[in-house]
Symmetry: D4
Subunit: 215 residues, 8 copies
């Protein structure tokens, strides 16, 4: 009984408690899901494994698992979605992180446009979808390897860009540190950066901005 | 005649071109200031030296220099300011970066509340101004050394926090890299990070968010 | 027969030899436990695996294993405990290291107060237990990710704080290096730092300080 | 008027406010010294330059400057000193940091034994003064280059050791990072580390421990 | 008389010896310039200071100095130029390095097209000059800060791209290391990287490729 | 259906799409191979596992797998090869990367000479094959550990050298970062560097240069 | 048949070819052992696994495997040993590397004294064996964690010391980089450093020095 | 009077005390030189500035200063020199460090052969002097930038090689760290490394080895 669930969080921040599944012991995880579901009628967790899905399903059979984003959730039906967030990603391998961002924002009530596979080595692919990107209240740019996507996007839009470096790559990518440095040093205006692979954090902050824009 | 001024920027992004003064040759700087002033009736530059102030004053005597933020500007009178941005900073030595953020946001038309000297080693100082921080559409958290301010602020507010690590510190602060890492790894939700000492970038993005909130 | 056991250590330092179990070959581990138990009537080891517990149990059936802290020990009954050490930790995932510190200090004869799950993203949780923290002769602050807890604690207490960075986190946490840098650069007074995940080292030094305070 | 002096600090922590002189503007520094002297009848600052000494001397002629430790202070006469702290240092070039630690502890009311020039490349020099080191309530170990002194001292004493890496060295010493890593990884028990060149921080924490021991 | 001039280099490699001026003592520099001019009727040096220009001018009055690229040279008239190399650069501050590359390639007999100020934060600027870039036998991409230009260029052309990171930037740019990492991790095909600020090396290799293409 | 195959790539760049197999899900991989084979009558992939070979063989039984280079391909018969590329490698353990480069270049239509096991600790081995190396239009130098081969080769040839650091080594080789730094800092002219273990990228750029030379 | 065995090495250097087993494919390893044994009547390999022992035993049943040092060898009987090398090591976990050094030197014909478990946290253990250390022609100092042993040894002996950092440790030991930095920065004279865990390299160089001393 | 001169050093180690001049205060330096000269009839210091030469000349007019190696010394006449050490260096800019090594070894009584300007980008230069290098009892290899010289030399000689990385280079040379990593990872046998720019340390250890060889 060491950890305390922060149930007042929703009141303070307007966001419900989200479960970071990775590394949580089985019984502990099941009881958190149960408790949050009981309180809120829905529950959302990230970084869940196939195995953790099986565990939680035993207590909450309606739980849904997405093996790409590793999100494990029960979501209320007919949730209203507002505004518009655009999620851009560079390569196929970045999609899990992009989906973590997208589904986080959707769970928190935002409309999301997915613009995937628009890495800068073929810049025409991004330009082909320029309107969609420019119309969003906030853009999330997800990229590994050299992470250049954030700068190109930043130069094309007038709303804020949240950059998410991913650990995709090898060698000197150093598990995402190179992409992180690229994004932090961006010469474009209106870009801020979250941790490597932190799709959740980007989806969260994009939701905050989107809410302010709609309000 | 190598560099091209991006005069259409204001149309594309809603922000005028800003001069990054550091390292610009004297004649070049003077002519940029002249040109931008002629086009816009105002001009704003960061990282200017005392010497650069003298140079620009020769062509534009009304130019104003702030030796703390190193901002060199001519600003239109009676500019309207909207919304509210809170700028928090940790120690005395972080004030130059905080002021770069604050004056950038003000030049771009935002109202700014300054909450300085509220470093986490005396957390009562921040708590004493909690209302001001919580009411802002966006908070900028400026800190060097261990950069812990961003996390504490992030946990207290429901709007987005832009974290600015500074190069303040010595030894293992590694010219701001430690504070940058602290902020990128923050356990609080709703925080994204800009480059070390990049008060301008934080002020810019805070303005974008503030505009969306007011709109 | 390569390694020599430092049996005079207790006389020199007032602390018994402790076993660092990680990586020790099975037979070697069993014989060390046997030997230390024979000499002292108790024995204490850190970083033990489930498997090592099975091995030692075969020669010393009364040995006790804690799967959270990975401590494997036989402890004398009715040990007297003196003074007071407070162990604060930030997140659930930091508890194993916090427990390593806590149980080390208890084995060495200190009273310990556990103040867990008081990470800085919800600073009210720490403030709610301020009295306990301030009354301790020494505080151990355990945190991963950005490691900001040490600075906040340091600013609230007048006795020494031993900061323990943990490898909890991902991406730019770099397996605890970010938290280590945060803590080393702390702007609060009265903080010193031990190695990443070194709960044992913190518990040891806290005991030294607590003994001096009680003496 | 941006910075607020933390005058209640002495009440909260039992330590007076100390001035970190480096980088403070002239007028600002003079007025802080004046104000703290008026409140406390003494004032203590670190990292002061020769030039800052001249500035402060103009308003407080009795101020004393030590060009080795760069400490600038006015100290009450007949201050009582308690307990015993040992300050060990490795090479000649480490003495400024060792003195910052020593004079900080003395200003805060501790007795200090200086054991300088006892680097590990001639371990007989340290062993010759073993009694003095072992009798102290707390030992501060100051070393640059490879920073091995902390481990050797830690193995010889039963009271806590505070290790201070210094920026002394060249090449791969990386301005003190190597010594910091050495000390953090120490195989000896009872060692914790402060920032590179942070003699002040070590003197502060040694004073805390010494007070607990005497109380 | 320690250093030996490598006068047979031109025969072996088809390139004359080039002087790396930085750090060379005055007399030594003057005599190298004299000797190479006597042998070849021309001489080319990089990283020369204003002061070194004055020194060499005393022995070779016809020497020409470019304060932007820091190139100090005497060049034969009516040199024939072949093929085509495109040199792209991101920001104004990258021009010195771009010019080092451009003038090196021109001295070695290549035609050079300069496409400056086409950083990725305004990708339309590069696209506007796409034909010029695509027609070159080899493209040199020069960029500091996040260095994303190389990837965008790499995706647009079918000939090889030599990427030159520059030390332009601040904070986490780490004097060009961030841009270097970006370029090494590029997701585009046909990119290889030289050292930070090594315009000379890029101009040299571009010349090799251009010669092969024309031959 | 997230990722879009870049089928027009061959038209734009003269190179067909290549599959980066590592991490691709089984069904996805099989369908990419099928699709590219249908379009081009051949297909080439790198970083394939034994398991992926089995998967693809089920849909394309004629696919060929090389367990050394990890290349998985179907290649048109009687492909014409032009020009000459030399691939030098330092140690036995570097051969997989060297073969990735060699087979990539061959697939793209180049003649390749392999000069393996010519590490600089026995420089006579390289000198024995000097003619072969000097005759190539482009040399690829593959080396791990200290990566010195690139500099020695660079000094011996007049055509461009593409250096490939490998992750071969241990300890301070830091998974290839040391070799990468060695190569980037090379004192020889005409060397540019690709990512650690990126044989594919080197083979690609060598092909570009070889084509220009033959054209 | 890619790799060429360097059979003339013994003639050039006075040392036979040694097999670095790690990562070698099974058949390849067996044939190297066979070939070297046929040529020299003995064969020596490092970093061998249990599995590789089984493989080689099938072709050379007399091969001997030491699971501590991971050395796999057939050694001529009645080999003469000359001079004296001392191998000091810090902790139990450093013994595998120390043994790699010791057995390498013995295979190459040196007498070796082992002085294990003399880490600097109990400096009396090293001093107790001072005579043995001082009499050797060369000392190898093996240590992980903070690696301070090399400096203490270096200060006690007048012959050369070869320092071997090991990957023993956790957290900020960074797999041996901390110990490497400690040793490279040593304040003692007469110390040079080899790669992390490179017992072989230290044994080799110690043999070279020992031979010179005996000659 | 803080520092103690280690006058018994010559008796213990066979080497006199050497003065590390860099950073020593003027009066202190003069008195050390005086004292050591009085005791030994000669005195040797490294890293001396022009200014320090002037200071010492006032008390010891016969002192000699070499502005290339920055060595400041008075040397006994008719000193006997024994054995042979070869000092190889890569580029012109490495000569100061090579000379620090050479003159240190000569002061300590060794014969020295200088083989300068033999960097690996022109390997024929080193091969032309192979005999000299192979005859030495010990070789010192001095190189900056990529530091590849050590590996090439190591492969050509059978006696030990001491590698000295220098801070020569720019960009990714990181003030010598790249060269240090190159040398530590050398694939050649019989190489050990000292700190960046530590010519003194290399000359010292080469002398130890040379003495053993002559004895
Ligand atoms: N040398 C030093 N190193 C680290 N912290 C110091 C040092 N000297 C003073 N301080 C701290 O800095 C605080 C004053 O900082 P400031 O308000 O910037 O003058 C003091 O209260 C001390 O906590
Ligand atoms: N800017 C530069 N960056 C890197 N290498 C250069 C540069 N300029 C000249 N070089 C190289 O440095 C060599 C001359 O070096 P040095 O003998 O030290 O003058 C030339 O032959 C070139 O190979
Ligand atoms: N070994 C490799 N290293 C780097 N890039 C590669 C490698 N193999 C293929 N590629 C590139 O990766 C692209 C395919 O990436 P993907 O769409 O993720 O399969 C290819 O078009 C190549 O440009
Ligand atoms: N250039 C150098 N690099 C490293 N160590 C040196 C150098 N010159 C002298 N030393 C060492 O520094 C010691 C003197 O240091 P110090 O007592 O600070 O003058 C000498 O005895 C040498 O061991
Ligand atoms: Mg933008
Ligand atoms: Mg928040
Ligand atoms: Mg405190
Ligand atoms: Mg101790
Ligand atoms: Mg391309
Ligand atoms: Mg070449
Ligand atoms: Mg010695
Ligand atoms: Mg050799």
């Amino acid at each position: 009984g060491y950890a305390k669930l922060d149930s007042h969080r929703e009141i303070r921040s307007g966001f419900p408690e989200v479960v970071y599944c990775s590394g949580k012991p089985d019984e502990f995880l099941a009881s958190i899901y149960q408790k949050l579901y009981d309180e809120n009628g829905e529950v959302f967790g990230t970084r869940a494994s196939e195995h953790q899905y099986e565990i939680v399903k035993q207590v909450l059979p309606q739980v849904v698992y997405d093996p790409i984003s590793h999100i494990l959730k029960i979501e209320k039906e007919d949730k209203e979605h507002i505004g518009k967030i655009a999620i851009c990603s560079a390569g196929t391998a970045d999609i899990p992180v992009a989906e973590e961002a997208a589904q986080t924002a959707e769970f928190f009530g935002a409309n999301v446009d997915r613009i995937y596979d628009v890495g800068v080595s073929g810049v025409h692919r991004l330009l082909a979808q320029l309107d969609t990107v420019q119309e969003a209240n906030c853009v999330v740019a997800v990229a590994g390897m050299e992470g250049a996507l954030a700068s190109v996007v930043g130069g094309l839009v007038s709303n804020p860009v949240i950059a998410v470096p991913t650990s995709v790559g090898y060698g000197a990518s150093m598990h995402g540190l190179s992409a992180l440095l690229t994004m932090i040093n961006s010469c474009a205006n209106g870009i801020a950066v979250v941790n490597i692979d932190n799709g959740y954090g980007a989806g969260y902050m994009a939701t905050q901005i989107n809410r302010l824009a709609v309000k």
